[in-house]
Structure formats: structure tokens, C-alpha cells
């Protein structure tokens, strides 16, 4: 039962992940991304990590991808010709590939988690407390810094988008 | 002051406006020339004047002259010659103009007089306008509106007189509506020369009736209906059929004989309801024969042809034209064309073109009856002279198609195109008809349609525009009154297509465009255009045909140029 579900969700996730990259139609790609996230959430649920699953859904599926779609539709980018690889995109792609390889290599080499730790995670996975505790103790500073960075970014976006209004004299 | 009169004109003053009119004109006609309406009932320009309706009362006066010295008496107030106004109103119809005559039609006295006359005319009138067929063209309605007082003081019972009296086969009389103008009586006596009508009894018992043992049944009886100013005389045929205000009037020509009486066709939504005469003082005055008024019934006759047929089976127009073309090709040089004196000038022109293209002989069917010396002439074809003018024929047609019969018997003719003519009735026998392939353009089913190779339905004179040349060589136009019947095709289009099928040139089929072609091809019509043809027609030069023995005798406004050749073949 569990393995069937795992296979189902992992297949869905992988196929949709490929779909995000391969799809020329931006709306289809965003749809694939959404399904991909749902698949990942399903995998999380199987690990009894309900909190992660639903936060993933709430933040990424519910809000971020919705905004993606929103912008794709507003800009109507789907008819555009795709750009070829330029120097910088090739470089970025290679970097991303290298990072992916590194990650996979790391998991392959030392990704094996010992059973007691897994069990402990499984027991606490469904519970809020460990997450909260970690967030508000060990990782308080990073969380705050990241939050602050996001706030700055948001302010920057607002300032940039408001710039037009000041440039064009109001009548 | 009064201007010097021209030799044959007299100058009169009507409502302050001076006008020179011919001597002998009465005041109503003179006033009409200065657009002053003098209301009248009994007066009719083509009938004698009796002055019995008293509606046309006017105030009249003459310039004052000193009886002793004959010197004009001047009015010190205006500095003009004084007018001696007659203290009583005078009738306009019975008063002929005289030099210096002064007429007033708007004074209180005239107004009072008219109101009085109207009141008397209306006291016994049944006021049944909702039922009356004259409503809408009734002089009594018009003048009650224009000159009446607008209300009735008559509270007594109205007179009762016979209603629904049949004066004759075509005329119904409602005596209650009669205002005793006697127009009908005078018409019967003077124009129709059939004195059958008269008044009986006196006072308010006066009643119009036929003389004992007589009936109003002459061929001009319906003219009494036309001239009746009220709804007393009504046409039995048109009675209660349709209100006149719904009817569209289209100028037309009576097709029953070569007189070419001018008519108006009254129609509504494609249905013709009646035909009335149209005034043309050169042709028919204001009259027409009863027999011409029922011709419209042919339009919706049950035997109207409505389907193109090839060998008796329904087909399509283009296929029929192709079939005709094949017949023409297969029998080149053995084709004859029978035109018709009932066709319009345009159709006869196209028939001529067809004959030329086919190198065919042309024939015309003659119809001769007895002329009634009034408005029905001996030649019952309306347009034989059109065939002469367009060159379709050069001699008058024989009574029977003897030539054509002989040619068929001799095998020289194998295909006959007939334009609206019944060849069996025109003199071909069954054996001759069996030998030929017949192409029929016709409006109504005829005896030989079953044997015809190709039948193409065409239009009656009411469904198309065109021209006729009458016995006076007067070319007169008529217009399309109702839309063509479904399935029938305009003769012009059919003929033009046949000309094309025979290998001739393309000819326009729209009347105005066609007339340019006709004007170019026919010298006698070189200056004529359809659009500019006057309502009263245009006289053509008759001299090239003066030697021909026309059959018509004398009719109204027509005298034969030479003694009538006795209708030997009649």
C-alpha cells in the first residue's frame, strides 16, 4: 500500500519536474510545477511530515505558483520564441547541474541516515513542537535574517514599481 | 388695373390675382389655373353644365362704368376702378369668363353659401363612411371637411331610400348617399349615348333610378361610378373589397384595343383591386370601357403558367434556354417567329432581334373585332403599330397565319417561337402543329402548351413596364403595378436570352437601358427615352405607314386617315 503510494507520488513528482523544464507552454509548465509540489507534499505525508506537506502546499502551491500563473497570464508569454543558450545561461545551467550532482553525490556517499535518528524524526515529524523549537532557538538568527532580506526585497519591489508614477508628472 | 387682353384670351381677376384665360372658360377652370379651388359636385369638365348642386357658389362682380358715358367709375378710397359686386352668390360652373370679371371665393358670403349647401346635402346623407366604398375619394367627405360647418343641426329622422339597388350588371346604387348631381345621367346620355338613368319623384323624395324596363348595362356603365362624387354608385366588382387609401396607383394603358386608353391600376401588396381611367384629353378624356376594367383578373387566373416546362415536364429556366438553343442549332434556317400585337414595343424589338439572329420569318397574329366608335377600336391588339415601328412586320397581319401554315406544310419551318400567342387559335391546324417544335413564351395555359417543346412563363402587362403605340401612332408608357408572379420571367429577359441562344448580341433587359439600344436601332424612336416619355404619350410620325389598310374605324379623338377597308376577313 505504502509503496504503491510512494511510487505513484514519486513518479508524479519526477514526471512533472521534467514537464516543468520541457514544456514550452508556460501555463502548462506552471501546472506541472503545481502538480510537482503536490507530489512532493504527498511524499511528505507518507513520511508523516504533515506540517511540511501542508506548509509546502499553503506557501508554494497555494500562493507562489498562483502568482506565477497570474503573471504568466498577465504577460501572456506563452506565444514567445524561446531564447537560445547564451554564455551566461550555459554557465548558470552548468552550475545548477554541478550543484545537483554534488547533492546527489552527497546523498549517495553519506546520505544514509542511521535508524535511531530516522525513528526519532519519524516520531517527531508529525509534531509541531520540534519545528518550533528549532526555529525559535537554533535557527532564530538565520530565520530573522532571511525574513529581513525578504522584507528588503519586498520594499525594493514596491519602490521600483512605484517609480513610474513619480517619473510621469501627474496631470 | 385690367391688362389689355390678348385676342383669344380674356383677363379675369380671381381672389385678387389676375390671369388671362381662353374665352369660354368657366370660373371653376379659370380658378384652377390660379390654384384656387372652387368646390363642386355636378360640374364635370367633360360633361354639360347643369348647375344643380349649387356647391360652386362664388361672389362675382364687374368693373363699374357710368351707364351714360361708359367711363370707368373710380373708387376714391383705393384709386382703382370700382367693382360692382353682385349681391347674390353665383355658380362658378355656369359662369363663363368675360373681360374684367372679378371673382371672390373667400368672402363670408361665399363661405356662408357653401356651408349652407353642405348642410342641406348632408341632412339626409346616411353618414355611413365606415361602410361606404367611396370613403377616401369622396367629394362629400373632402368638402364637408373643407367647407362644412363640422356639426349637424338636423335632429329629425333621416330620409330612407332604397339601398343595394342593382342598376345594371356592374353598378350598384345606394340611393341614400346620392346628392342628385346628375353626372351619371348626363354621362349616359351624352357620352355613352345610352339614356337609361333619370330622377323620379320630387324634393327629398327625389331618387335616381333606371327608366322602367332598362338597365345600366352598356360597356361604359362603370364610368358613372368613377364620376359619382359620392358613394351612391359603386362598382359591384370592387364593392367592399378594399379601402382606396390602401391602394397603390400605377399608371397603365388599357390593352383591350388599339385605342390605348390611359388607366390607373389600383393594387395593394401585389394584388390588383380595380382599374380606373386616367384623364388624357388626346386619347380617352376621362373614360374607359368596362371590358378593360376586368383585365387584371388574368394576373391571378388559375390557368397562369408558373413553371418552365420542357416536353411537358417541369424544368428550369436555364435548361429551357439551352434546349431552345439546341433546337435553333439543329434546325438552323427553319425557324419562324410569331410575334404579338399585345407585346410591348420593347418586346417586339427584341422579337425582331431574335428573328434577325435566327434569320427567321416573322409573323403577327391579327385580332379584329367590332369598334364601338368610342373607346374600343376594331383592332383588338394594342400594339400592332409598335410592330410596324420596330420593323417586326412591314405589312398588316393577315387574319390567319396562312403563310406560316404553308411554310410548315412545305417543311421549310420546323421550329416556331411564339411570343404570347396561341397558334391553334391563330389559325394553325393540328397537323401543322404536330410537325413543328414549338417554343412558347406565354402567360396562360393554352391548348397547345401540352404539345410545346419548351414553355417559358412570362408576365402580364400589369407585371412589367413598357410602351404601346396606339392607333394614333401615339407611343404611351405603362408601369409595373404588381410584382411578377413566382415562376414567371420577364419577357424581355426571356427574349434577350433567346437572342443569346440564337447567337445574337447581348441586349440589356432593363427598360431604360434597352431604350438606348432601341433608339439607336429604330430611326423613328431615335429621340425617345422611356424615362422622359410624357404621361400623355408622344406622337410618332405615321407617314411611312399611311398606305397600310388599318382596320380601325372612327373612335373618340381618332379619325381614320382613309376609308376603312371593309373587314373582309372578319
Amino acid at each position: 500500500m505504502a509503496s504503491i503510494l510512494f511510487l505513484l507520488f514519486s513518479t508524479l513528482t519526477v514526471l512533472c519536474a521534467v514537464g516543468v523544464v520541457v514544456n514550452k507552454n508556460a501555463v502548462n509548465a506552471a501546472g506541472c510545477l503545481l502538480l510537482c509540489l503536490v507530489g512532493v507534499a504527498g511524499l511528505f505525508v507518507q513520511l508523516d511530515a504533515y506540517l511540511l506537506a501542508f506548509i509546502l502546499l499553503l506557501v508554494y502551491a497555494g500562493a507562489v505558483v498562483a502568482l506565477f500563473l497570474f503573471i504568466i497570464m498577465l504577460l501572456d508569454v506563452q506565444g514567445r520564441q524561446s531564447f537560445g543558450f547564451s554564455g551566461i545561461t550555459t554557465f548558470a545551467g552548468l552550475m545548477a547541474f554541478a550543484l545537483l550532482l554534488t547533492g546527489l553525490g552527497t546523498i549517495a556517499v553519506k546520505g544514509h541516515l542511521d535508524a535511531p535518528r530516522l525513528n526519532r524524526l519519524a516520531a517527531e515529524g508529525a509534531n509541531l513542537k520540534p519545528y518550533a523549537q528549532q526555529l525559535f532557538t537554533t535557527y532564530l538568527l538565520p530565520v530573522q535574517i532571511i525574513g529581513f532580506l525578504l522584507l528588503i526585497a519586498m520594499l525594493g519591489v514596491i519602490v521600483l514599481s512605484k517609480k513610474h508614477a513619480t517619473e510621469e508628472p501627474a496631470k | 388695373m385690367i391688362a389689355t387682353a390678348k385676342p383669344d384670351l380674356v383677363t379675369v381677376n380671381i381672389d385678387g390675382k389676375e390671369i388671362a384665360v381662353p374665352k369660354g372658360t368657366n370660373v371653376i377652370e379659370a380658378a384652377r389655373l390660379v390654384n384656387v379651388d372652387v368646390p363642386h359636385y355636378c360640374y364635370h369638365p367633360k360633361l354639360t353644365i347643369v348647375g344643380n348642386c349649387r356647391m360652386c357658389l362664388i361672389e362675382m362682380g364687374m368693373p363699374a362704368v357710368d351707364p351714360a358715358t361708359k367711363a370707368p367709375i373710380m373708387d376714391p378710397a383705393t384709386g382703382k376702378q370700382k367693382i360692382n359686386w353682385i349681391p347674390r352668390p353665383q355658380i362658378g360652373c355656369g359662369t363663363n369668363v368675360s373681360p374684367g370679371l372679378h371673382v371672390r371665393t373667400t368672402t363670408p358670403m361665399v363661405k356662408d353659401a357653401r356651408e349652407g349647401v353642405m348642410e342641406f346635402l348632408l341632412i339626409n346623407h346616411p353618414l355611413d363612411c365606415p361602410i361606404c366604398d367611396q370613403a377616401g375619394e369622396c367629394k362629400l367627405q373632402e368638402q364637408a371637411t373643407g367647407y362644412g360647418r363640422g356639426y349637424s343641426r338636423f335632429i329629425e329622422d333621416k330620409n330612407v331610400k332604397p339601398k343595394r339597388t342593382q342598376l345594371g350588371p356592374r353598378v350598384t346604387l345606394d340611393d341614400e348617399r346620392c346628392i342628385l348631381c346628375s353626372r351619371c345621367i348626363r354621362f349616359s346620355k351624352e357620352i355613352a349615348k345610352d339614356d337609361v338613368l333619370g330622377f323620379v319623384d320630387r324634393g327629398s323624395y327625389s331618387t335616381l333610378t333606371c327608366f322602367p324596363g332598362k338597365k345600366l348595362e352598356n360597356n361604359y356603365s362603370l364610368n358613372t361610378v368613377d364620376i359619382c362624387p359620392v358613394g351612391a354608385l359603386t362598382s359591384t366588382d370592387f364593392r367592399f373589397k378594399m379601402r382606396v387609401w390602401f391602394l397603390k396607383q400605377t399608371n397603365a394603358i388599357d390593352t383591350e384595343s388599339s385605342v390605348g386608353a390611359n388607366t390607373v391600376v389600383w393594387s395593394r401588396e401585389g394584388t390588383i383591386y380595380r382599374i380606373t381611367p386616367r384623364r388624357n384629353d388626346e386619347v380617352n378624356d376621362t373614360w374607359m370601357a368596362d371590358s378593360g376594367r376586368v383585365l387584371f383578373k388574368a394576373v391571378q387566373a388559375p390557368d397562369r403558367l408558373s413553371a418552365v416546362k420542357i416536353n411537358g415536364t417541369d424544368s428550369a429556366f436555364d435548361i429551357a434556354i439551352n434546349a431552345a438553343a439546341e433546337l435553333f442549332k439543329a434546325n438552323a434556317g427553319a425557324v419562324a417567329v410569331v410575334g404579338s400585337g399585345r407585346s410591348t414595343v420593347e418586346e417586339q424589338f427584341l422579337t425582331k432581334q431574335l428573328a434577325t439572329a435566327l434569320k427567321a420569318s416573322t409573323h403577327l397574329v391579327s385580332r379584329v373585332g367590332e369598334g364601338d366608335k368610342l373607346l374600343v377600336s376594331a383592332d383588338r391588339n394594342p400594339n400592332v403599330r409598335g410592330a410596324l415601328v420596330t420593323g417586326l412586320i412591314s405589312t398588316l397581319p393577315g387574319v390567319k397565319l396562312v403563310d406560316l401554315g404553308a411554310q410548315i406544310d412545305a417543311g421549310k419551318v420546323k421550329v416556331v417561337v411564339t411570343v404570347g400567342e396561341d397558334l391553334a387559335a391563330a389559325g394553325l391546324n393540328a397537323g401543322q402543329l404536330a410537325k413543328i417544335s414549338l417554343i412558347v413564351l406565354g402567360t396562360h395555359a393554352k391548348s397547345m402548351d401540352g404539345g410545346a417543346k419548351v414553355v417559358i412563363p412570362t408576365l402580364t402587362a400589369f407585371e412589367k413596364s413598357g410602351t404601346f403605340v396606339n392607333q394614333q401612332f401615339r407611343i404611351q408608357k405603362f408601369l409595373k403595378a404588381v410584382p411578377p408572379m413566382a415562376g414567371a420571367t420577364d419577357d424581355l429577359i426571356v427574349l434577350a436570352k433567346l437572342v443569346g441562344a440564337a447567337g445574337g448580341a447581348t441586349i440589356p433587359t432593363e427598360v431604360n437601358a434597352l431604350w438606348k439600344t432601341i433608339a439607336a436601332a429604330v430611326p423613328a424612336l431615335a429621340t425617345t427615352t422611356f424615362a422622359n416619355l410624357p404621361e400623355t404619350g408622344q406622337l410618332l410620325d405615321a407617314t411611312p405607314f399611311s398606305a397600310l389598310p388599318f382596320v380601325e374605324g372612327e373612335t373618340l379623338h381618332y379619325k381614320p386617315a382613309q376609308p376603312v377597308v371593309a373587314a373582309a376577313n372578319a
Partner: protein, 386 residues
């Protein structure tokens, strides 16, 4: 007595339970559309739909007429119409997403029910056990997460319709839903701060919340709606916005957007959108009642257990788990339906906000208010529960 049921394999049992819940939710959502018409009519001094009738029901002397006047059969007539009328597919639409959108609308609407408990029973120990398909620890998060996916149906429907008004509607929808999700989430946090008292196992489920509202004592028996009125208010307002109900139905505003995202839809696909909307309302009302309205407790300070105790004095049958379950589910359903009536009542009372007003209320009023509310309760709870 029901042992045979528990012998059925779990998967099938879950499937049956899910089906049962859907079989309840779906007709209620359909009936809501009828109720909406009736409420609208009553508020407008009209009798409302009262004509349709099934013959053999009409023969029942009193009840038949009553049901007919109530318009019950119009639901069936409407459903039949939706099913059988021609389902047109406009030529200019993106067919795949056009068909997908109403299906996507149904998924979150029916999935969220899974984590919402809708009743309770007393176990052998006399402990209240919530009844629900999947009582998760993270219940409220699951509801938020899954219901946030509902926006996709509107976005897809609007975009796939390939027409002006639906697209504008879908753009509004996505912005509005995302805007009010923030306030909504922040408004419920004080409740969970309160129920996650020190020393207790951390949870974001609904069971604990209802449990907290069933305690003895003045504060204990008080529903959170009274304890945290501002939270309840913010949640309530945000709920209107999230379900696109008047006065926040700018998404579907007929006067300026024709029909918004469902302009191009008809027949059954259109009906699915409506059922989804009412399902959202039902689930939203349920969540509201669980969090702020005492869940299946009949009255404030009168927990379900007390009621069952009183009834058990009359008849011992009252303490049977089945009876308690039915009783609690009825109470809860009654509350939910009352809440839905409130939705309708508001709809036929208030005019629609302008879109800029909606955004202004969301970001400039409700969001600061909910943050202040959160801070206030965080500090207050910190003091109380220290």
C-alpha cells in the same frame, strides 16, 4: 452491532466514509443554492420558488404542499436541468484547461472536509472522541493549504475561457484570495496559542480547540468567539472574502464582469463551480464553528458531555455512542447551517465592495488589525499561562 463494519479493510472503509461525507456535502451544497433563492425571496418579500413538484409527493395531503411551497423540488429540477442540458464548449477556449477548471474547483472543496471533525462520541471511558475522516494534528493548516488550491480553478477557468471578463475575474480572484489568506491565518493563531498551553502536546488540530471550549468554569466553557471576538471577526470577514461571498464577491460581480470566471460556462460545469462555492462555505462555516463557535457543544458553558449526561437521566439510551454521534453531528450541522444562513442574509443585505475597497480592507485594515490582535493575545497568553 457494527462490528462487521470494522472488519472491512481499512482502505475500503475510508473510501466508504469519504463517500458518505461527500454524499452529504454535495446535496447540502446543492440545497444551499435553493436556500439562497428562498432567502433572497423572503428578504425581498417574495415567496420564492414554489412551483416544482413531483406528482406522487404532491398527493400527500399536507406535507406535499408544504414541501412544494418550500421549493424543495426545485433543487431536483435544477439538478436535472444542469445534468441534461447541452453542455456547450465555446470555440475560442483552451479546451483542456476549460474542462479541467471545474474539476479542480471540486477537489479542494471536497478534500478539506477530510480534516474537519463534524461530531463526537463518548468512548467507554466517557471521553469525548471527535468524529472525522482524518483528524490530523495540523488540521487548520491542512484546511488553509488545501483550500488555497481553490484559487487555481478560478485562474484556470478565467484564463482558459479566453475572454475578457473571465480573465479579469480570475485576476481579481487570485489577488483577493491571497490577500485575505494572510489575515485569516493570523487571526486563528491566538486560538492555537491558547490551546497549546505549556506542558501540553503541541497541536494545530480542531479536537483540542473544541475540547478547550468544553471545559468547566467560566473561561473554560466560554467559546472562543467570546474570548477572542476580534479574532473571530477577522476570521469571519476573511471567510466572506475567501468564499467570494457578498460583500466581497468582486470576483463574480455580475454588474461589471457579467459572470466573471464562469461567464463562458454552462450546464453541469457551471453547476460544479456553484457546488464548489457552497462546499467552501460549508467547510469554512464548519471551521469557524469549531474554532470560535464551540464546535458540537450545544451552548456556551453547556458542553456536549453535560447534555448527554442530562439526557442519560431520562433514558440510558442517550449515552449510546451512536446516539451521541448523531446528536453531536446534528448540533454541529445546525450551527453550520445557521452560519450559511448568515452568509445568505448578508448577501441579500449588503452591497458589493468596490475592488479597490476590497484590497484596501484586506491589506490596510484587516492585516494590521490581525497582527495587532496576534501581538495582544500573544502577550496576554504569555502572562496568563506563564
Amino acid at each position: 452491532m457494527f462490528d462487521f463494519y470494522f472488519e472491512i479493510p481499512l482502505v475500503i472503509r475510508l473510501f466508504l466514509q469519504g463517500l458518505a461525507v461527500i454524499m452529504v456535502i454535495f446535496p447540502i451544497a446543492g440545497a444551499c443554492s435553493m436556500a439562497e433563492r428562498k432567502v433572497a425571496a423572503w428578504i425581498q418579500d417574495r415567496p420564492g420558488p414554489n412551483r416544482a413538484v413531483v406528482p406522487w409527493v404532491a398527493w400527500i395531503p399536507f406535507l406535499g404542499t408544504f414541501l412544494q411551497r418550500l421549493g424543495i423540488f426545485h433543487v431536483m429540477a435544477d439538478g436535472g436541468k444542469m445534468l441534461f442540458k447541452e453542455d456547450s464548449l465555446p470555440g475560442h477556449v483552451n479546451k483542456f484547461y476549460f474542462v479541467l477548471a471545474p474539476i479542480v474547483a471540486m477537489i479542494p472543496a471536497l478534500t478539506t472536509v477530510v480534516v474537519v471533525p463534524f461530531g463526537a462520541y463518548l468512548d467507554a471511558a466517557g471521553k469525548i472522541i471527535p468524529v472525522g475522516l482524518a483528524p490530523l494534528d495540523v488540521g487548520i493548516l491542512a484546511v488553509f493549504a488545501v483550500s488555497s488550491l481553490g484559487v487555481y480553478s478560478m485562474i484556470l477557468a478565467g484564463w482558459a475561457s479566453n475572454s475578457k471578463y473571465p480573465f479579469l475575474g480570475s485576476v481579481r480572484a487570485s489577488a483577493q484570495l491571497i490577500s485575505y489568506e494572510l489575515s485569516m491565518a493570523l487571526s486563528v493563531l491566538p486560538v492555537f496559542l491558547w490551546v497549546n498551553a505549556p506542558g501540553m502536546e503541541a497541536t494545530m488540530g480542531f479536537g483540542r480547540v473544541v475540547e478547550f471550549q468544553s471545559q468547566p468554569g467560566f473561561l473554560g466553557g466560554m467559546w472562543f468567539g467570546f474570548l477572542m471576538p476580534l479574532s473571530a471577526f477577522i476570521f469571519f470577514v476573511a471567510l466572506f472574502a475567501e468564499t467570494n461571498r457578498q460583500p466581497f464577491d468582486t470576483v463574480e460581480s455580475e454588474s461589471d464582469l457579467v459572470g466573471s470566471f464562469h461567464t463562458e460556462y454552462g450546464a453541469f460545469k457551471w453547476g460544479l463551480f456553484f457546488v464548489a462555492e457552497y462546499s467552501h462555505m460549508i467547510v469554512g462555516s464548519g471551521v469557524f464553528m469549531l474554532l470560535f463557535g464551540g464546535g458540537w457543544n450545544p451552548l456556551p458553558w453547556v458542553p456536549l458531555a453535560d447534555l448527554v449526561g442530562w439526557l442519560a437521566q431520562i433514558t440510558p439510551l442517550a449515552s449510546h455512542p451512536l446516539f451521541v454521534g448523531v446528536l453531536s453531528i446534528s448540533i454541529f450541522l445546525g450551527k453550520v447551517l445557521a452560519m450559511i444562513f448568515l452568509f445568505m442574509w448578508v448577501r441579500w443585505t449588503l452591497p458589493r465592495f468596490r475592488y479597490d475597497q476590497v484590497m484596501k480592507i484586506g491589506w490596510q485594515r484587516l492585516l494590521p488589525l490581525s497582527i495587532a490582535n496576534l501581538l495582544f493575545y500573544a502577550i496576554a497568553i504569555a502572562f496568563i499561562q506563564k
